[in-house]
């Protein structure tokens, strides 16, 4: 562990402040809680919110997994895992079942979470309405009044213009029948995994200085219409490595003549299955 820094980088008073915000967030599922996000030694937009949340809930006995795009070995995941190795010295793992805390960017692991596990999402824009209403003072009011007509109209217009909803990732969800929430830019494919999940889901947005949460076994509904139900998107292939027809796939370009293959985005899930 690196000298001169507190366990987990943040000082204890800051961690306490963040944990208070987390408790509030858990009590009001889907509600964005402002918090005094600190400047971190990693850039804004690269996971500072998630890192602060992880640092605040991390203990010496925790086992940490960090993924980006579903993979443990993407450069930013490596960088964040190394950061916690340096400032907390905790055990790390690539195995979803072995981890007690999983910090993620853009994916929910394929292996279902169990009770007691914490999934920490890195969130770039916590406000689900920001493309429709950029003024934070105004969106705060809309949330207070549960006035989400703007988003319903946007989805309706997508369907009217191009036959289906245009959002393929970061598809907004209603949490506990009350708050409209950004699931962070996970593919719509992952949205159903949030619903009644056994794990605790925490969301940290460092630059925007907001924290929110989905407690275990909470109702999470992807916004849709009765006659146009929500449709998760997945490439219609089997993984070229493990043969999975259920997992989310990355498309890999293999040559410049249109050759391509599809492989699991979740590298741990893929490696845990027998190869084809």
């Amino acid at each position: 562990m690196i000298d001169g820094y507190n366990f987990g980088y943040l000082d204890e008073a800051t961690k306490r402040m963040i944990r208070r915000a987390l408790l509030k967030a858990v009590c009001i599922p889907g509600h964005q809680v402002p918090f005094g996000a600190r400047e971190m030694p990693l850039p804004y937009g690269w996971g500072t919110g998630g890192i602060q949340v992880t640092a605040s809930v991390l203990g010496p006995d925790d086992v940490l997994k960090v993924i980006d795009q579903g993979a443990d070995d993407t450069t930013n995941a490596v960088s964040i895992r190394r950061f916690f190795g340096r400032v907390a010295g905790v055990a790390t793992t690539e195995s979803t079942p072995e981890a007690t805390i999983i910090q993620t960017r853009h994916r929910i692991p394929e292996t279902p979470l169990r009770e007691g596990q914490i999934l920490v999402y890195q969130v770039p824009m916590p406000e689900p309405l920001f493309k429709l209403e950029p003024r934070v003072a105004e969106t705060t009011r809309l949330h207070a009044m549960a006035e989400y007509g703007l988003m319903q109209v946007k989805l309706y217009e997508d369907i009217a213009r191009q036959g289906e909803v245009a959002t393929s990732y970061n598809h907004p969800v209603m949490v506990n029948h009350r708050y409209l929430m950004s699931p962070s830019p996970i593919p719509a494919f992952d949205n159903p995994k949030m619903h009644m999940n056994a794990g605790l889901q925490l969301f940290g947005a460092g630059r925007e200085k907001r924290i929110y949460a989905v407690p275990p076994y909470t109702h999470v509904q992807s916004l849709d219409f009765e006659d146009h139900p929500f449709k998760p998107v997945r490439a219609p292939y089997a993984c070229a490595i493990c043969g999975s027809e259920e997992s989310y796939l990355d498309e890999v370009i293999t040559d410049d003549r249109g050759g391509r293959m599809h492989v699991c985005s979740d590298t741990d899930y893929c490696a845990s299955r027998p190869p084809v």
Partner: protein
């Protein structure tokens, strides 16, 4: 076969070793010293210090060296260091009226008590490259020292205020807000706006300030005064009950004088746009004072229609460490989301073609 991004850890290690080599440059040349940076690239150091929100010239010089001269990266380094420091409290308001003046000019009065002091300025230099500087030169001749007047230089806005021509800004003993501890919230009071701008990006504020002069915001500014020099920083620890001097620092202050038509309850008078920047940075102090005045539109009953008049627009976007992080995060992998977009656009295209064939 599929190798993907395996080996990320090794790649990062190699990249950082390359960075260290590139930073050092040609080893036949002597390595630059942080003290040289601090002395000879003083304005770059000042900019980093202001945007890094940490008044320490030595650390700012180190940050510049480590960042290969990239001022935004250097400010980021300084911020990430600063955030680990404990906060003991806040200082008493700086008395810029008691500044040890290095520069002081007014564009509203030809002469005034204390006089006009040009100081070390680029103004009125001809921007001709000085090739003599490229050769190792002798130290420039010391300028003739003017007789040091102990005369206190009153602020121009205070002179206007005596006549009732300058709208007073109410003094406050409230604890100042601190956006490094509490997230921005709106409406943001003026102290918070000024704090955000003082550490904000010079280029962003310059562009916004400029926009108010070109019709995006109703600006009619005069430079009442710009002053730059050392001020004393004092704190008053509660257990002592009196102020103690903790050091001096150079700041640049700009007070813009602006027209105000008056309302039913307020007589026509001038209003102030205020800019204060750590170190010597007149461009930023001036731009800041233009934007400060523009942001006062609602308070003065003016219609707010331009970006510089929108507190959310200005404050959420003036921080270059936040801006650069989020802009540059686009280079992180996004292939999961892009894959969803691919499937989505293929589906929509298939429907588009099917409709036209039917």
């Amino acid at each position: 076969m599929y190798v993907s991004v395996k080996g990320g850890e090794t790649a990062i290690g190699h990249a950082h070793a390359w960075l260290a080599e590139a930073r050092r440059g040609e080893t036949a040349l002597p390595e630059i010293d942080t003290a040289q940076i601090e002395q000879q690239l003083a304005l770059a150091v000042d900019r980093v210090m202001a945007e890094g929100a940490c008044a320490d010239r030595g650390l700012a010089a180190l940050a510049l060296k480590q960042a290969r001269g990239d001022s935004t990266e250097a400010a980021f380094l300084l911020r990430a260091y600063r955030t680990t420091l404990p906060r003991f409290g806040y200082s008493l308001p700086l008395d810029t009226g008691a500044m040890a003046i290095q520069r002081r000019i007014s564009s509203t009065y030809k002469d005034l008590p204390g006089g006009q002091v040009l100081g070390p300025t680029f103004d009125y230099t001809h921007r001709l490259l000085d090739f003599a500087l490229a050769a190792e030169g002798l130290a420039p001749a010391a300028p003739a020292e003017a007789a040091q007047g102990a005369e206190r230089m009153p602020q121009v806005t205070a002179i206007l205020a005596q006549e009732g021509l300058m709208a007073p800004d109410a003094p406050s003993n409230a604890e100042p807000p601190d956006l490094t501890r509490e997230p921005l919230a709106f409406p943001a009071n003026r102290a918070l706006r000024l704090q955000a701008m003082a550490r904000g990006d010079e280029g962003f504020l310059l562009g916004l300030g400029y926009s108010t002069q070109r019709g995006y915001g109703n600006a009619h500014p005069f430079v009442g005064e710009i002053r730059m020099g050392e001020v004393t920083v004092e704190i008053e620890p509660p257990e002592l009950g009196f102020a103690i001097d903790i050091g001096d620092m150079v700041v640049t202050e700009c007070q813009m004088v602006n027209q105000f038509a008056g309302t039913e309850s307020a007589p026509p008078q001038f209003t102030r746009g205020y800019g204060l920047v750590v170190g010597q940075n007149e461009r930023k102090a001036m731009a800041m004072s233009l934007v400060d005045r523009a942001l006062r539109a609602p308070e003065l009953g003016e219609e707010a229609t331009s970006p510089a008049q929108s507190p959310e627009f200005v404050l959420y976007h003036c921080d270059n460490v936040e801006s650069t992080g989020f802009v540059e995060h686009l280079k992180l992998p996004h292939y999961v989301d892009f894959q969803s977009e691919l499937e989505k656009i293929r589906a929509i295209r298939a429907r588009w073609f099917a409709e036209r064939e039917a």
